[in-house]
C-alpha cells in the first residue's frame, strides 16, 4: 500500500486518506459499527474552550466554565500539562476534534482512537443506548443555550445564575440510575417544553389570581404513607424531585433544573464506563495503527512516533511513585483488552479455568465486541480481570480502618487466595452507585412547616464532607424555599450527623 503521508505535515486530503484507510481496517477487519464521522480541525485555544464546557461544542454560559478555562489555560501556558489530543462527542454524526498542531501521525492516532474506537463504543454500549440520544443531543444543547439566554434577558443574569449554581451543585444527584419505561428523546423533550409553554399561555386567566384561597384541606388528609407515594418518595434523583415538587419555583427555574438534569443524565454513562471506553478506543487505535504499519501505509519512523505517544498514554505508575494518580483508565482498560485477546486466542490452563466461556474460542474481535456492548466498568472488571493481569500489575488490596489503631492492613495480594477479593474490590471502586454517597429525599412535612427531609445512608462510616454538604444543602433550601434537614444515618438507623439549612431571603424574593 502507498504510504498515507510523509513526514509530519498533513493536509485535508491527507486527513481524508487517513480516515479512509482507518475505516477500511475498522469496518472490514475489526468489524466495528460506527456512527457517521465528522472530523473538525480546531486550534489549541478552541480545544481549551471545548474542555472548559465539559467538551461540548455549544453550551450555555456560566461562570464556572470560565473558571475551568482559566484553570486549564494557566496549566497549559506553563507547560505543566499537555492538552488532550482529541475530544470526541457522543452524537450522530460523531464529532471528533483534531488539533491543528498535531503531526500527521498524531492525527492518524486520533482518528483511529476517537472516530472509530470511541465512536463504536458510543453506538453499541448498552448504557449509551439506554440513556443517551446521539441524534438529538446537539439540537438539545442548542435549545438549552438559547433557553437560558432568554431566561437571562427576562429574569436577570443573577437570578438565572443562582438557579444554575444550585442545579450544578446537585448534578451528581440528578440522574435516574435505573432505566425507565421510555428511551430518552431530546428532540421530543424540546418540543414538549414548547408545548407546555404554549399551553400555559393559552389557559392563562388572570381571574384565577383573585379567587380567595380557603384553608388547605388536602395536605391534612394525607397520611404519611400516602403522602410519600404521591411525591414518589423516597427519591434519589434530587434534581428531579425539586423540579417536580419544589412548591415555589417558577416555571423557567424548573426548566433549567430539567436542562441540567438532562445534561447530567447524558454524561452518566460516560462516568460508568471510563475504563471500558478508553480501553476500547486505545485497543482499537493500537490495532489500526499496527495494521497500517504492516500494510506499510505508515513508515517505521511514524510508527515509532506513535509508539512513544501510545506508551505515554498507557503508562501506569506504581502506588509508591511520587505522582501516582490512581489507576490510569487507559492503562487498565488497554491491558484488559489485550489480556482478553490473549485469553481468546492463546489461553493457558488457568485462563480455561477462570474463563471457560471464552478461553480459546478463537475470534477475539467477536468476544470483545460483545463485551463492549454489554458491560460497564464495574461488571467488566468483576468478570474479566484475569489473575495473570493482577500479577502483571502487581495489584494488592489495602484496608484503612480507623477503628484499628496499628495502621493500614494489606487485605489481599496477587495470589491464589487474593485474586477474587482484589477483583471484587477493584470492581466496586468503579461502581458509582457504591462510590457516590447514597442520598435520598425521604419525607416532606407538608402539613407543618414544609421541611424537607433528606437521608444519607452512611457506608463504612464515611460521612459527607462537611463544608461542601452545608453549601449544597443551602442550594437545596433555596430551591425548596423552606427548611431542609439532612440526616446521615448508619445501617442500624442511628443518626450520626445532621445538617440543616434555611432558604436565603434573596431567593425567596426572586
Amino acid at each position: 500500500m502507498e504510504p498515507l503521508f510523509e513526514g509530519a505535515d498533513w493536509s485535508f486530503t491527507t486527513l481524508q486518506r487517513i480516515h479512509d484507510a482507518c475505516q477500511e481496517i475498522a469496518l472490514s477487519e475489526l468489524g466495528l459499527d460506527v456512527y457517521p464521522n465528522q472530523i473538525e480541525v480546531i486550534t489549541a485555544e478552541q480545544m481549551l474552550d471545548a474542555y472548559s464546557s465539559t467538551g461540548m461544542p455549544l453550551f450555555y454560559k456560566h461562570w464556572s466554565f470560565g473558571k475551568h478555562f482559566a484553570h486549564h489555560e494557566a496549566f497549559y501556558r506553563k507547560g505543566l500539562r499537555d492538552l488532550a489530543y482529541e475530544i470526541v462527542i457522543n452524537s450522530s454524526p460523531c464529532v471528533s476534534y483534531l488539533m491543528e498542531e498535531n503531526t500527521a501521525t498524531m492525527q492518524t492516532l486520533v482518528i483511529a482512537h476517537a472516530a472509530f474506537g470511541h465512536n463504536h463504543f458510543f453506538k453499541n454500549n448498552y448504557l449509551f443506548k439506554t440513556w443517551t440520544d446521539a441524534e438529538g443531543i446537539l439540537d438539545y444543547l442548542d435549545f438549552a443555550k438559547g433557553y437560558i439566554a432568554r431566561c437571562e434577558e427576562r429574569h436577570g443574569q443573577a437570578a438565572v445564575e443562582r438557579t444554575l449554581d444550585a442545579a450544578h451543585a446537585l448534578m451528581s444527584h440528578g440522574v435516574h440510575r435505573y432505566p425507565g419505561k421510555s428511551k430518552l428523546d431530546l428532540r421530543q423533550e424540546e418540543r414538549r417544553e414548547r408545548e407546555r409553554r404554549a399551553h400555559e399561555e393559552q389557559i392563562f386567566n388572570d381571574l384565577w389570581r383573585t379567587v380567595p384561597a380557603g384553608p388547605s384541606k388536602s395536605a391534612l388528609d394525607l397520611g404519611a404513607e400516602r403522602r410519600r407515594t404521591v411525591l414518589g418518595l423516597p427519591q434519589d434523583n434530587l434534581l428531579y424531585f425539586l423540579e417536580k415538587s419544589a412548591p415555589r419555583l417558577q416555571a423557567w427555574q424548573r426548566e433549567i433544573l430539567r436542562i441540567v438534569r438532562h445534561v447530567a443524565q447524558y454524561f452518566h454513562p460516560q462516568r460508568q464506563t471510563k475504563v471500558m471506553n478508553e480501553g476500547t478506543a486505545t485497543y482499537v487505535h493500537y490495532r489500526i495503527m499496527t495494521r497500517l504499519h504492516e500494510k506499510q501505509a505508515i513508515s517505521d519512523g511514524n510508527f515509532l512516533e506513535f509508539l512513544t505517544s501510545h506508551s505515554n498514554v498507557v503508562f501506569q505508575p506504581a502506588f509508591d511513585h511520587p505522582r501516582f494518580p490512581g489507576f490510569n483508565p487507559y492503562a487498565l482498560g488497554f491491558a484488559m483488552m489485550q489480556d482478553l485477546e490473549r485469553i481468546v486466542t492463546n489461553p493457558e490452563a488457568e485462563d480455561r479455568e477462570w474463563f471457560p466461556d471464552i478461553a480459546g474460542s478463537g475470534d477475539a474481535m467477536a468476544v470483545l465486541r460483545d463485551i463492549w456492548a454489554n458491560y460497564r466498568d464495574e461488571s467488566f472488571i468483576s468478570q474479566f480481570l484475569s489473575p495473570r493481569l493482577m500479577r502483571q500489575m502487581r495489584m494488592f488490596h489495602i484496608c484503612d480502618d480507623p477503628a484499628r489503631t496499628e495502621g493500614v492492613v494489606v487485605e489481599a495480594i496477587h495470589d491464589e487466595a487474593g485474586y477474587r477479593r482484589i477483583r471484587r474490590q477493584l470492581a466496586r471502586e468503579y461502581d458509582i452507585s457504591w462510590t457516590d454517597p447514597n442520598i435520598e429525599v425521604v419525607d416532606v412535612d407538608l402539613a407543618g412547616d414544609r421541611r424537607l427531609l433528606l437521608r444519607h445512608t452512611v457506608v463504612n462510616g464515611c460521612l459527607l464532607q462537611d463544608t461542601a454538604a452545608t453549601h449544597v444543602l443551602q442550594h437545596i433550601a433555596d430551591l425548596w424555599s423552606y427548611d431542609v434537614r439532612l440526616q446521615e444515618v448508619d445501617p442500624t438507623g442511628t443518626v450520626l450527623k445532621e445538617h440543616v439549612a434555611s432558604p436565603r431571603a434573596m431567593t425567596r424574593a426572586a
Partner: protein, 424 residues
C-alpha cells in the same frame, strides 16, 4: 465522512464565561491582586499579570464523601507486601496511605492570568484623583470638529466634489439632458445631408436639443453639497502631579524604596486613569532641582535637607508652566520628616501662601525604617498636621514597610463621598 475546518470560527468563545467568572470572583481577585503587588516589582504591574486565586473562594460544592471512615483500595505495583502486613499510616490525618485518585478536594489555589487591562482595572478600582473635576473641568472644554454628513449650504472650501458631481449626474440622467455626442452626430449628419427637407428637420431637432442643454445645466445649485462639520466638545481634565522627594543622606535606601513604590503606584494610576496629566519630578537635598523620571528614581544624591527648597522649586515651576487658572495641581511629597529647624518657618510660609492655595490636593508620605514604629512626630509632620487642622487640603500618612504602601495609597486616593477632604 465530513471534515470541517473550525479554526476560523470566532475566537474567544470562552471570553464571556471568563468575564462572568471575573465578575463573580471580584472580591477574591482584588485580594489576590493586592497580595501579588506586595511581592512583585511594580514596573511589572504594567505588564498585567498572574494572580493566584484560592479555589475555596470559588468552589462549586457537591455532595461527596469526606475523610474518615473505613476505606478499601486496590493499588498497583506491590513489590514486597504479603497478606496481613500492616503498613504505617502516612503522616498527617485520618486518611492514611498514598494519595488516592478521586479523593480529596483538588487543588487549593490556581493561577489565573489577568490581561493588563483586567489587572489594572482591579488594581485601580475605586481610586481617583480627589476633586479633579471640581475646578476647571466644566469650563475647560476643548472643541474639535467632527464630520457630520453633508449639507446644502456651507463655505466653498468645504464643497464635497464627489457627492456634488454624483447628484448632478443623477439629475442630468433623470431629466434626459442630451449629451454632446448626440448633438455632434446630428451636426455631422446635417453637414452630409443632401436633401433640404430632411436637413431642416434635423436642424430643428438640433436647435431643440441645444435649448434643452441650456435649460438643464451641467451642474445646478441644487446639486451642490458641502461637507458638514459639527463641533464636538471634549472635556479635558488637565492636571499636573508634582512628585517631591527628599534624597538627602538621612533617607536610607529602604526609605527611598518606599517612596519610589509610592510614586510608581501613582504613576501607574495616572497613566491608567487620565490622558492629560503631566508629571513633574522634583528631588531635593538642601537645594532642589527638577529632574527627569529616571534620575528621580535611580540616581543618588547627598547633602543636607531643606524642605522649603523643594516647595520653592515647585512654586517656580507652577509660575512658569502651570498656571493654577488652567491646571489642576496635585502634589505628593515623600520624606523621612527630617528638616532643619531653621527651615520650618519658610516651609510653612511657602505652603500657606503659594503651594496649598494653588493645589487641589497635597499628599504627604512620611517614610520610616522597617519594623520601627516611630513614636515621635517629626517636625515636618507636626507642621502638616497643624495646617490640616486649619483646613488645608492635606493628607498625611506614615509608612515603614512596603506592605503598607498599597493600603495607604488606596486610602489617600479613595473615591470620596461628597467633597470631604483628606480624612486622617
Amino acid at each position: 465522512m465530513n471534515i470541517v475546518d473550525r479554526r476560523l470560527n470566532p475566537r474567544g468563545k470562552a471570553l464571556e464565561n471568563r468575564q462572568r467568572f471575573l465578575r463573580r470572583a471580584k472580591g477574591v481577585v482584588q485580594q489576590a491582586v493586592k497580595q501579588s503587588l506586595q511581592s512583585r516589582n511594580i514596573r511589572d504591574v504594567l505588564d498585567g499579570g498572574e494572580v493566584s486565586i484560592p479555589m475555596d473562594g470559588m468552589e462549586e460544592p457537591s455532595l461527596r464523601r469526606g475523610a474518615g471512615g473505613m476505606r478499601d483500595h486496590v493499588l498497583p505495583g506491590n513489590k514486597t507486601f504479603i497478606e496481613g502486613d500492616v503498613l504505617p499510616r502516612s503522616g498527617g490525618g485520618s486518611g492514611g496511605k498514598p494519595d488516592k485518585a478521586g479523593e480529596g478536594a483538588g487543588e487549593d489555589a490556581f493561577r489565573f492570568v489577568l490581561t493588563r487591562e483586567e489587572f489594572l482595572n482591579v488594581f485601580l478600582d475605586d481610586l481617583e484623583l480627589p476633586d479633579l473635576a471640581k475646578r476647571r473641568l466644566t469650563e475647560t472644554e476643548h472643541e474639535s470638529p467632527v464630520r457630520a454628513g453633508y449639507s446644502v449650504s456651507g463655505s466653498p472650501a468645504n464643497i464635497a466634489v464627489n457627492r456634488t458631481t454624483r447628484l448632478a449626474m443623477m439629475r442630468r440622467m433623470a431629466l434626459r439632458r442630451p449629451n454632446p455626442e448626440t448633438i455632434a452626430r446630428l451636426e455631422a449628419e446635417i453637414a452630409a445631408c443632401e436633401e433640404d427637407g430632411l436637413r431642416l428637420a434635423l436642424e430643428d431637432k438640433v436647435k431643440a436639443l441645444n435649448a434643452k442643454v441650456r435649460r438643464i445645466p451641467y451642474i445646478d445649485p441644487v446639486d451642490v453639497r458641502y461637507r458638514r462639520y459639527e463641533n464636538e466638545p471634549k472635556p479635558v481634565a488637565q492636571a499636573v502631579m508634582f512628585c517631591l522627594m527628599d534624597v538627602s543622606s538621612s533617607m536610607t535606601e529602604h526609605m527611598k524604596d518606599l517612596a519610589k513604590r509610592f510614586y510608581m503606584l501613582l504613576y501607574i494610576f495616572l497613566a491608567q486613569r487620565y490622558r492629560h496629566v503631566e508629571l513633574v519630578f522634583i528631588r531635593h537635598t538642601d537645594r532642589a532641582e527638577e529632574v527627569d523620571e529616571d534620575t528621580f528614581f535611580h540616581s543618588p544624591a547627598t547633602g543636607g535637607t531643606l524642605v522649603s527648597s523643594a516647595l520653592e522649586a515647585m512654586r517656580a515651576v507652577i509660575a512658569k508652566r502651570y498656571s493654577p487658572e488652567d491646571w489642576n495641581i496635585y502634589a505628593a511629597q515623600a520624606s523621612d520628616g527630617d528638616n532643619s529647624y531653621s527651615d520650618e518657618a519658610a516651609t510653612e510660609r511657602l505652603l500657606k501662601d503659594a503651594i496649598l492655595p494653588a493645589s487641589q490636593y497635597f499628599a504627604y508620605l512620611e517614610v520610616g525604617e522597617s519594623g520601627r514604629e516611630s513614636m515621635s512626630h517629626s517636625a515636618l509632620l507636626r507642621l502638616y498636621e497643624r495646617l490640616r487642622a486649619e483646613g488645608a487640603p492635606l493628607s498625611i500618612r506614615k509608612v515603614s514597610h512596603r506592605n503598607e504602601i498599597f493600603p495607604v495609597f488606596r486610602e489617600l486616593f479613595q473615591r470620596r463621598q461628597g467633597h470631604e477632604k483628606a480624612a486622617s
